[in-house]
Point group: C2
């Protein structure tokens, strides 16, 4: 068995330069899911990946239509009924490229420089697509078979909020049935490997507050006409008490305190100094509610992400503006139902309407919290593979961020989930995104070990 892995790793090293050249073909598709103008490119990218899977010997390969952009599916089920079936998730769509002038090379013409490959999606998350394809190729070349049964699910809408994925998963439960979901959307830095094991849900909303039909003179109308910016300010000001607790009635009703083991994991994975440095801050805020590590990860939040209204230029403009607005996202604790929370928000916010000012709260995203394995053989398979490759195990980290697709799997299919990632990069969602080639090949070696280890897990 170990010989098989070494053969696969040798193959990876021997074909390294060609693999990176070939990667450029995948990076050439401008598969930007947020902009409808690129829909054809997203579909062409899906078809290209389907053809690659077929060439590897995968079966039932298909770019499956959804209400939005297609999901790439393919399966390799010849490992035997006694071997686990692993559903492998990554996404092939990418972020927009704005601001284009800040890129040093074309975002969709990949360039290799200083051991890095620069392109939009090079790291997030075409590395997850390409890494899996190349790992399967190496294992198949070295051994003629794979150590586990594989089902591929590569999403095409992750960067635009996965609007179609819940319906897709519900409609394809049978096809997606597996023993484990392996999430390959992420980053793995060999010198400091981390695995995210849980995160918060999310609800987003946009609020519009409307008063007079147009901006009107604040001298003539001041004191006479209600100012929608005052109402917007009152709503924003109503969201928190002085300690930073969210004041939406009922908001904390379903909150459960984490158990001691979980509190320990949270504290161990919390990197206070790096976070303070990232914020340019000397202190966190709201300390009386709970320890900082828990506030940042398991406590729910409400943040106004943007607000606007009236005159924003230099100097003065003496108006009562016609309209104000703001955007809200809430990060949800475990067991907070996003559909319940979004209605708490809507009811509270729209309660500020008066006879002369309307308030409309439009709900956007509604996604559950998620959780992956924190112990057991599936996680151990990942940890051993990482340890054998880079000499240390990954730190388990609870994030305050959200991965809607994992919450969907948690609830719709209920299978165990663990995570793995292909290499380390930077510039994700920014200009000059890149992937480090060395760390990508370190991950490929770890992936060969990972799939081998997963093949050893017995139900």
């Amino acid at each position: 068995m170990t010989d098989t892995i070494q053969s696969a790793i040798d193959y990876m090293q021997e074909t390294r330069d060609q693999m990176m050249e070939d990667y450029k073909a995948l990076l050439r598709f401008p598969s930007i899911s947020a902009d409808p103008a690129y829909a054809d490119d997203v579909c062409a990218c899906a078809d290209w990946i389907v053809s690659q899977l077929s060439a590897l010997g995968f079966e039932n390969c298909e770019a499956i239509a959804t209400d939005g952009l297609p999901v790439v599916y393919g399966e390799w089920l010849k490992a035997g009924a006694d071997k686990p079936t692993v559903l492998v998730y990554a996404h092939y769509d990418v972020q927009p490229v704005d601001p284009l002038p800040l890129w040093h090379s074309e975002p969709f013409e990949a360039v290799i420089r200083d051991g890095k490959i620069f392109a939009r999606g090079a790291s997030d998350n075409k590395a997850g697509v390409w890494g899996n394809l190349k790992t399967f190729e190496a294992l198949l070349r070295a051994n003629g078979t794979l150590p586990v049964n594989i089902k591929i699910m590569f999403e095409g809408e992750e960067e635009s909020g996965s609007p179609s994925i819940e319906a897709f998963v519900e409609a394809n439960k049978e096809r997606l049935r597996a023993d484990l979901l392996l999430n390959c959307d992420g980053d793995l830095a060999p010198d400091e490997p981390q695995l995210t094991y849980a995160g918060r849900g999310i609800v987003s909303a946009e609020v519009r507050v409307k008063g007079p039909q147009a901006d009107i003179h604040s001298g003539l109308y001041g004191g006479l006409v209600q100012n929608p910016l005052h109402v917007a300010g009152a709503i924003i000001g109503s969201f928190h008490d002085e300690r930073g607790r969210v004041r939406l009635p009922g908001y904390y009703d379903s909150l459960k305190e984490a158990d001691a083991a979980e509190k320990g994991r949270i504290a161990a994975g919390f990197q206070a100094e790096a976070l303070l440095e990232g914020a340019g801050a000397t202190a966190f805020w709201g300390e009386t509610i709970a320890p900082a590590a828990e506030r940042a990860t398991v406590y729910p939040t409400l943040d106004v992400n943007g607000m606007w209204g009236g005159y924003q230029g230099p100097g003065n403009k003496t108006i009562i503006p016609a309209e104000a607005g703001f955007k809200v996202t809430m990060r949800l604790a475990p067991d907070q139902d996003p559909r319940v929370v979004s209605q708490l928000l809507k009811k509270h916010v729209e309660g500020f309407a008066t006879e002369t000012v309307t308030v409309d709260c439009s709900i956007g995203e509604e996604a559950w919290y998620f959780e992956l394995e924190t112990e057991g053989p599936w996680l151990e398979a990942v940890q051993s593979a990482i340890e054998e490759t880079v000499g240390r195990r990954a730190q388990l980290v609870r994030t305050g961020g959200s991965i809607p697709i994992l919450g969907v799997f948690n609830r719709a299919i209920g299978l165990p989930i663990t995570a793995f990632a292909y290499g380390h990069g930077e510039g994700i969602h920014s200009p000059n995104e890149y992937l480090e080639i060395d760390t990508f090949f370190t991950s490929l070696a770890a992936a060969a070990r990972l799939y081998h280890n997963l093949g050893q897990v017995t139900g």
Copy 2:
């Protein structure tokens, strides 16, 4: 005497076309005071007006330097020591012309069309400058003398908030000494003449609320770092109670209730339906504080004129923004000292700073309320002139707006003030500003009668 007036009016009518052609020379100066790029044009305009005054026989004509743009001064003091001296105010600077594409003709190349003259400043307020020059010319041609002593003060900074005028008036009290100030900045519609007799003071401010050094991820930092938009919302939300009363501590301390006569004048001049229509509203707001007419004119207000922070584009951006801001103007009641009120605001707003969020309140304009004559011979001189010309007296109107220069005169010199205006126009501060030529000549006739009437007032 009546013959003198008629001769002057005849002269105005005989030279009507030439007067409007000559007006184009004044309108050709792009005397935009708000934009430093036009400072030379403002000065050239001042020099041109000085030359016109000199040509009329005015003495000591000068474009007097200030800390900002020059004040045009000139005097004609030959009416005799027994005649009143009238200080005539207007302004020769104009608003910017943006948005230029909406103009149907060049803003500084006046065009006469359909009985209107189109140009930036044609109405606001070069009509006040030109109307006075042409009235004096007509009276001098008809009679060789003027019925009163005249001192001219034409300002060059009115459209940019008169930043230098208070210091100028303080430094030139002797030169500006007079029996009456006649404010010629305004509009006179012959079918519905109005005279503004009082208005509110004003304080403006800009508030900046700063948190993290840059926009940071609301998933990683939500609950951990204080959001400056929340603080901005809390400040805005703190400004008013549910009835619309301003909650700045001490804000109403100097408020005096208007007497019965004044309440009657306010009610008589209040045009509820026109105001409701202008706001596109079916009802006013805050009715429990005081009657709407008084809330709009003698009660102080606080309005947020604009606010901003974070992401304002389509969709979502999950950030805790680095910074928020908003602009405030307060309209001040009689006897509210703007320098006291601005400090109440600053103290209240900056009190929202925390260990992790800074709040800076920068005060802009600070101007007193103003009041003109509401009875007596000076006002009667104006009313008679209007009545003799258009068959009706002007409605006295209290405005909720602010005219900082009049507050300066009220306090620095303390002389009686009344108002008169030259014609009716529209598009003030907007594209396609114009002055109606017929109403301008109606006003010229009324002005000849007005200066005659003022000459009859004895001290």
